[in-house]
């Protein structure tokens, strides 16, 4: 069955191949091309943001100022965060969504292909504008990625460009999210029920709703900053009767769902990979869906735990503490389900599995520090220190980024038609894992010991751990070059089979490797869908 579909696809492919040259990429409406564009763009941003991280870590290697001025240091922390969040992690997951969601639900393409092209091509413009601020009078934005007023209003010429680029990123995200929702709900193979969908698709469906809910909130917040600066309003200016804290509430109402936007698709990737290499169905497929939905719901009612020091009423602090602690329950369910999937499996440890296992270990450590941060009284001590920096880097780097790496290795043979270099992949994994811990683990200690975040220089008792973190960061940065090597040699390996791995579950494995330009012109039948779902439905 699968091979006849594949043959038909190949034949069809001959008639409608991609356009040639640069036009293919500029005007493409093909979900696979756009997925590739997103992934390459995010990798470029990952290296640009990473270079900024290395400027930060180089300056922090020793106490005293050695390399950069404090203003530039603040620009680096601000730009590093904006680029990694909006330029690297989010577009990378959208890239995976573009590539994989249509193939996973048996759809021929995304529902809105022209809008898909636009969603992507807005991003290079947005980040071109953002990066150009580095060369403007007054320097790049230096008020933190959270853009808290009044400080952010002290930005120089870069200010309106910052706001405009954030608007564009939001526009891109909203369009991408609409496209994903419409695709999943309307283009799904007619015989596939919602609960039969893979967890990656489910997590992206939830994420897309989060994006639509909160990106306009961010747009509103930064627009109010804009009018405060240029049109005489006082939304956030105390002198005009405004309230600087209101910005923080609005920002984090966007910002907390935003952190789940960056982790839910990662949960999805991991939930696809672990069953494959444990050779066992995903444990608790349906409870994964419910847990993901609960996390999404809770993400809307915990925002003020980022603000325990602003002076909220006691009742508010207690509410946000309890709500935040609750998140540990569905998140725990997910971790337990992954462990349950491994339990009594028959595991092998190819690169995607290694990254996934490191994800489960290290994301959980980030989860533990998150639980600690939920305890308001303790949070007052942790807040705005390196303990927080350690926490969110643990959930974002060995969390989101490792999941992205795992996904890239997992699906690369399906994309290229060749097996990647497994030895290089393992080197990439081990060096990344060792250095990521060397970088971020010591940050827990300096944070607890009293080192605030976002400072270019620190008192001498923090010197040793900072040295360790800096060495780790340089090592982690260099390790990523191995990944580039893997990508550059991706077509030099053995030909991949259509299923690539040992009997993996998912419709993407029923099409040939490399996946033809057009897949699923006719939707897969009920039997194929049933045999390629972890769900018992």
């Amino acid at each position: 069955m699968a091979s006849t579909v594949a043959d038909a696809i190949k034949e069809h492919d001959d008639h409608h191949g991609p356009a040639k040259g640069i036009k293919r990429w500029l005007f493409t409406t093909n979900h696979k091309d756009i997925g590739t564009l997103y992934l390459i763009f995010s990798l470029v941003m990952f290296f640009i943001g990473g270079a900024m991280a290395l400027v930060i870590r180089t300056e922090l290697m020793q106490p005293g100022l050695q390399f950069v001025h404090p203003e530039f240091f603040n620009s680096m922390t601000t730009m590093h965060a904006l680029i990694m969040v909006f330029g690297a992690v989010m577009p990378a997951f959208v890239g995976l969504a573009n590539w994989m969601i249509p193939m996973m639900i048996g759809a021929p393409d995304m529902a809105l292909p022209r809008m898909n092209n636009w969603s992507f091509w807005i991003l290079p413009v947005a980040f071109g504008i953002l990066l150009s601020t580095l060369f403007m009078p007054g320097g790049a934005p230096a008020g933190g990625w959270t853009m808290y007023p009044p400080l952010i209003l002290q930005t120089g010429d870069a200010f309106p460009f910052l706001i405009f680029s954030v608007h564009l990123m939001g526009l891109s995200s909203i369009m991408g999210a609409i496209n994903i929702i419409v695709t999943i709900l309307n283009m799904r193979a007619p015989k596939m029920s919602l609960l039969q969908m893979p967890i990656f698709v489910w997590m992206w469906l939830i994420t897309a709703y989060l994006l639509i809910a909160v990106m306009p909130v961010l747009a509103g917040a930064v627009t109010m900053l804009l009018t405060d600066q240029f049109f005489g309003t006082s939304f956030f200016q105390a002198a005009g009767g405004g309230d600087p804290v209101m910005f923080q509430h609005i920002f984090w109402f966007f910002g907390h769902p935003e952190v789940y936007i960056m982790i839910l698709p990662a949960f999805g990737v991991i939930s696809e990979i672990i069953p494959t290499f444990a050779r066992k169905p995903l444990f608790g497929h349906d409870s994964m869906v419910y847990a993901g939905s609960s996390i999404a719901f809770l993400s809307f009612i915990v925002w003020a735990h980022h603000m325990f020091t602003v002076g909220m009423p006691l009742s508010g602090q207690l509410f946000f503490m309890f709500a935040t602690m609750l998140i540990a329950v569905p998140t725990g369910v997910k971790v337990f389900n992954w462990v349950g999937t491994m339990w009594k499996g028959s595991m092998t440890f190819e690169t995607p599995m290694l990254f996934s296992l490191a994800f489960v270990f290290l994301f959980t450590i980030g989860g533990f520090s998150g639980l600690m941060l939920a305890i308001t009284a303790a949070d007052i001590q942790y807040h705005d220190t390196y303990f927080v920096v350690a926490h969110f880097h643990y959930v974002l780097v060995p969390g989101s980024i490792f999941a992205l790496m795992a996904g890239a290795y997992y699906w690369l043979p399906k994309w290229t038609g060749y097996m990647y270099n497994e030895t290089a992949g393992k080197w990439h994994f081990w060096t990344s894992t060792i250095f990521v811990n060397l970088t971020f683990f010591p940050m827990h200690f300096v944070g607890l010991a009293g080192m605030p975040r976002r400072i270019p220089d620190y008192s001498t008792q923090f010197a040793d751990f900072n040295m360790m973190a800096s060495i780790g960061a340089i090592g982690f940065g260099l390790s990523q070059l191995i990944f580039v090597y893997v990508l550059l040699t991706a077509k030099k390996g053995e030909k991949a089979t259509d299923v690539v791995w040992d009997n993996p579950v998912g419709l993407e494995w029923t099409v040939p490797s490399p996946a033809p330009y057009h897949t699923f012109d006719t939707p897969p039948g009920e039997d194929v869908i049933r045999s390629h779902s972890h769900s018992s439905h």
């Binding site: 020793q62 009044p150 169905p281 444990f283 497929h285 296992l357 001498t460």
Partner: protein, 291 residues
């Protein structure tokens, strides 16, 4: 060269220490360089205990979850000839591992809430100080006293902190943690702090007092502490406030009531005299001249 070697040596030593802390954090003393300080107020000690409690809860959960996972990684691998089972759910297991975390969290929430309630109770203070954040210094005004002054980064640190200053920060006492004029309070007194800012956001933090409160233009935040030990306690601004955010430390001197009264007498009116231009010298210089 020598210093490089020393740095590397201490690095190695500290990394072992760090690993040790992972296992023995409970017995590790409240070391300023490794863990949260226990502090010198009732609430800072309670905060520390909460921190250690939740830490141990996490360690406990971690041991169980990672233990099961590591066991599985060792035993259930293909290279050991493990055959994959094909179960995909277990309602009992799922109910258990949803219920147990709920119970743990519930138990954790009780002491956490109790501490919060105490932390917010700033009634009946013995004295009040208005703290105002500026880019990039603190101003302290003692309510009901004619005392007020700015507190800047100490001169020695100012010199050493410049780009390529040529001064090794290790040779500066309390690098970036010293001010020209500390805030002085009597031991055992309930001190209410009224914290605000005059330009951008700042945040006033002293770890040993377990106080971190944002200084916000247009808003006066209230908090309190009662220091139980004489000593010098150092902290930092913890809300990004511009280029010199890293250079506005907080120093609180907790002294005996007599010493506090003596300090108060020398400071009374100094700022007013300075403001009235009665002296061209700074309040500090005026003080030094014995006026």
């Amino acid at each position: 060269m020598d210093r490089g070697r020393r740095v590397i040596n201490t690095m190695i030593r500290k990394s072992f220490l760090g690993l040790a802390l992972l296992v023995f954090a409970g017995v590790a003393r409240a070391d300023w360089a490794l863990n949260m300080p226990r502090g010198v107020t009732e609430l800072s000690a309670e905060t520390y205990d909460l921190h250690m409690l939740i830490f141990w809860v996490c360690v406990g959960i971690g041991v169980v979850v990672f233990g099961v996972m590591i066991y599985s990684l060792i035993m259930h691998r293909q290279s050991k000839g493990a055959k994959a089972a094909d179960f995909s759910h277990s309602t009992t297991a799922e109910v258990v591992w949803t219920a147990i975390p709920c119970v743990i969290l519930l138990l954790m929430a009780i002491p956490a809430a109790e501490t919060m309630i105490k932390l917010e109770d700033s009634r009946d203070p013995d004295m009040s100080i208005v703290i105002t954040g500026y880019q990039w210094k603190w101003h302290y005004r003692y309510q009901n006293e004619d005392v007020g002054f700015y507190s800047n980064l100490a001169e020695e640190s100012v010199k050493a902190r410049r780009l390529d200053s040529g001064i090794d920060p290790f040779t500066v006492d309390n690098y970036l943690l010293d001010v020209d004029e500390p805030m002085v309070v009597p031991v055992g007194a309930k001190v209410r702090l009224l914290i605000t800012a005059n330009d951008v956001l700042h945040s006033w933090w002293v770890p040993e007092l377990a106080i971190k409160k944002d200084a916000i233009p247009g808003i006066i935040n209230e908090t309190w502490f009662r220091a139980e030990q004489v000593g010098t306690y150092r902290g930092k601004c913890t809300e990004l406030c511009g280029k010199d955010h890293g250079y506005m430390p907080v120093v609180v001197e907790v002294v005996e009531p007599d010493a506090y009264q003596a300090w108060l007498d020398t400071r009374t009116g100094a700022e007013q005299r300075y403001a009235n231009n009665e002296s061209t010298a700074t309040p500090e210089a005026t003080l030094a001249a014995g006026e």
